[in-house]
């Protein structure tokens, strides 16, 4: 089957984008990510499948972007601090028409614009070089301050992981964002309860993440990150709220979402997908989406 990746309209997103359309976009994002994983026989596809719904809402409803002009000054900024989630963001950028679909074939290869860890110098639409985790939220604070100085009204988003909550730098930024009343800063925490050495709650238990942000002076929402309706409501609230506080959406996601045999596979930072499983993963994703859409 073919996916029409490039929307013809100059802006990919629409603040009234209906749920069914967002679900279709999320399905495409998952599919692109699996295709990229298949190219290399590996990749952080568990994370990509889990975060696809968040990215669909971000890129097709919330963010003000011009896909043909990724550096358009008026865009909302979307910072991916988790460099290893690059495969997920590439999938979203492909779906949004920022990166051509064919380029997916080069994923992770020598001299590709799509290296395995996301870097601003390589990829259009990649705002920052991630990978050294715990830097995104602080950069977002600086951009939030800068955007306020310019008075042009854009938002800065930061997608960060539950693992990044272990870094002190994240909480320096959290305190600062509240201090500066950065109501133009929207953080999204992927609470997939996973990091390199095991479940985040066991590696470094953070307790109630939303409550922690609230205690730091943030407006916090905790949502099911694979529930499209809940995500739409949370993003809309974060944008429209009349409140001087920075906003955080703690999105609880399921690694492997959309591919049942990966959803139930033993959870690790790097979910194993065997060589003969890629086609099968794409097939069950397709049938699952078709069934849900019917």
């Amino acid at each position: 089957m073919s996916l029409s990746a490039s929307p013809s309209t100059p802006t990919a997103s629409d603040t009234n984008m209906p749920l069914a359309e967002l679900s279709r976009r999320a399905y495409h994002i998952r599919r692109h990510a699996l295709k990229m994983g298949q190219v290399q026989g590996q990749g952080y596809v568990g994370q990509a499948l889990g975060i696809a719904d968040v990215l669909a809402v971000a890129y097709f409803r919330a963010l003000n972007l011009r896909p043909a002009e990724p550096e358009w000054e008026g865009r909302d900024r979307f910072l991916l601090s988790i460099g290893h989630y690059a495969i997920a963001l590439y999938a979203a950028l492909i779906e949004a028409g920022v990166i051509p679909l064919e380029e997916l074939e080069t994923y992770g290869s020598d001299d590709s614009r799509l290296p395995m860890s996301g870097m601003a110098s390589y990829t259009p639409g990649m705002e920052i070089s991630g990978g050294s985790l715990g830097q995104g939220l602080g950069i977002a604070v600086g951009m939030g301050l800068g955007l306020k100085r310019k008075g042009t009204g854009q938002f800065v988003y930061n997608l960060l992981s539950d693992g990044e909550l272990g870094e002190g730098s994240t909480w320096e930024a959290a305190a600062s964002a509240a201090h500066w009343k950065l109501d133009n800063l929207i953080a999204v925490v992927d609470f997939n309860n996973q990091q390199a050495d095991g479940p985040s709650t066991q590696v470094l238990g953070m307790g109630d993440i939303a409550a922690k942000f609230e205690a730091f002076g943030w407006h916090a929402q905790f949502v099911d990150g694979n529930d499209m309706e809940a995500l739409v409501a949370a993003f809309d609230t974060a944008r429209e709220l009349d409140d001087p506080r920075p906003r955080v959406i703690v999105a609880q996601t399921l690694m492997g979402q959309g591919v049942p045999f990966l959803e139930t596979r033993e959870k690790t930072h790097f979910i194993r997908v065997d060589e003969d499983e890629w086609d099968k993963a794409i097939e069950v994703l397709d049938t699952g989406f078709a069934a849900a859409a019917a």
């Binding site: 992770g108 290869s109 020598d110 290296p115 860890s117 070089s129 050294s132 272990g166 050495d197 470094l204």
Partner: protein
């Protein structure tokens, strides 16, 4: 005439975890983890601590052997250093693990002040030293030694292979004081058992002699220098290899003696590190400072730039640290 389209080249990967072992090379699995677990059975003061990278630094082997002596500190490298300092103050010998970039860049001040300035007995063992991942600058510790060489009190060790790592763990533990150890993890090549060699902290060792070139090397570049020395024979070039696993304090006496013994040899310092601030500059300063001047001096190391993402073999070639590049560059220098 039929034009054959070449088979599509296999795509290379810029994955975080890449093996430095050549195809078919003999390897030993997790040498650091096993050596530490074994030593800890004899030394109850040893504890292991990691910043969410036990599994990726082979410390999980220690954790499995001594679960009650392992502390998972979360992805918080600054805390790792501070808590390691606290453990050492209470009389334990913590072995801290993370990636080289995060221990040196993010946690520098904490390693410097909380640990080294107090001379505390903390060992920091770090995976992905130099260019051992194709993941890009966020994970490539091309300047970890440059960052740390200026830190007083700190001992810096850059082992060559699995044998070196196995042998280094006990002397590092027996040495009272902070040590930074560059770690090769996973399936690690084993080569030094083919030579008359034992690791001694603070000592450089001549692995093979040769009249034309003297390689002075550390870490995995000793492996490459040995391979290059073999290959150079085909060009009637005899190369010596002086392995220098302790970068600081540097075994200046052995290095100077080796150079002075045959001053006509071209000296090539080879390291898996930036040409700035590593073994090469340390050797150069030592030689010049003592008036031990070789006929020629060259450096093989990483360039002073942020390195590309890509497959490791591609990058090692690109930056001149693959065996083939070591051979070719050495021949060029001899010709010049």
């Amino acid at each position: 005439m039929s034009v054959e389209t070449p088979a599509k080249p296999r795509l290379k990967t810029s994955a975080m975890i890449a093996s430095i072992a050549a195809e078919g090379q003999r390897t030993i699995s997790a040498p650091f983890g096993h050596a530490l677990a074994e030593l800890a059975a004899k030394k109850p003061e040893i504890v292991g601590m990691s910043a969410d990278l036990a599994k990726y630094t082979d410390l999980h082997i220690f954790r499995e052997a001594h679960p009650d002596r392992f502390y998972q500190m979360g992805m918080a490298e600054q805390l790792l250093m501070m808590a390691g300092a606290g453990m050492a103050r209470e009389g334990f010998q913590p072995w801290l693990t993370t990636y080289a970039v995060f221990a040196t860049r993010r946690a520098y001040d904490f390693l410097c002040l909380a640990i080294a300035e107090e001379g505390l007995d903390v060992k920091v063992a770090c995976a992905l030293p130099g260019l051992t991942t194709g993941y890009g600058p966020s994970h490539q510790a091309s300047e970890d030694i440059a960052i740390l060489r200026g830190m007083p009190e700190l001992t810096i060790v850059d082992p060559c292979d699995a044998i070196d790592i196995q042998q280094a763990v006990q002397p590092i533990s027996d040495h009272k004081g902070p040590v930074y150890m560059r770690l090769l993890r996973g399936k690690v090549p084993a080569v030094l058992d083919e030579y008359d060699y034992t690791f001694e902290l603070g000592k450089a060792k001549m692995l093979r002699e040769g009249a034309d070139v003297l390689f002075i090397s550390s870490g995995l570049m000793t492996m490459r220098a040995l391979e290059a020395a073999d290959a150079l024979r085909a060009d009637k070039v005899e190369a010596a290899v002086l392995h220098c696993p302790t970068i600081k304090p540097l075994d200046e006496a052995t290095i100077r003696a080796a150079v002075a013994a045959k001053p006509g040899r071209l000296v090539v310092v080879a390291e898996n590190h930036s040409v700035i601030g590593g073994l090469g500059e340390a050797v150069a300063a030592s030689l010049l400072g003592s008036g031990t001047v070789p006929s020629g001096f060259r450096q093989i190391g990483l360039p002073d730039r942020f390195l590309d993402a890509g497959a490791l073999p591609t990058l090692h070639d690109r930056y001149g640290i693959s065996t083939e590049q070591v051979v070719a560059r050495t021949l060029d220098w001899l010709d010049a």
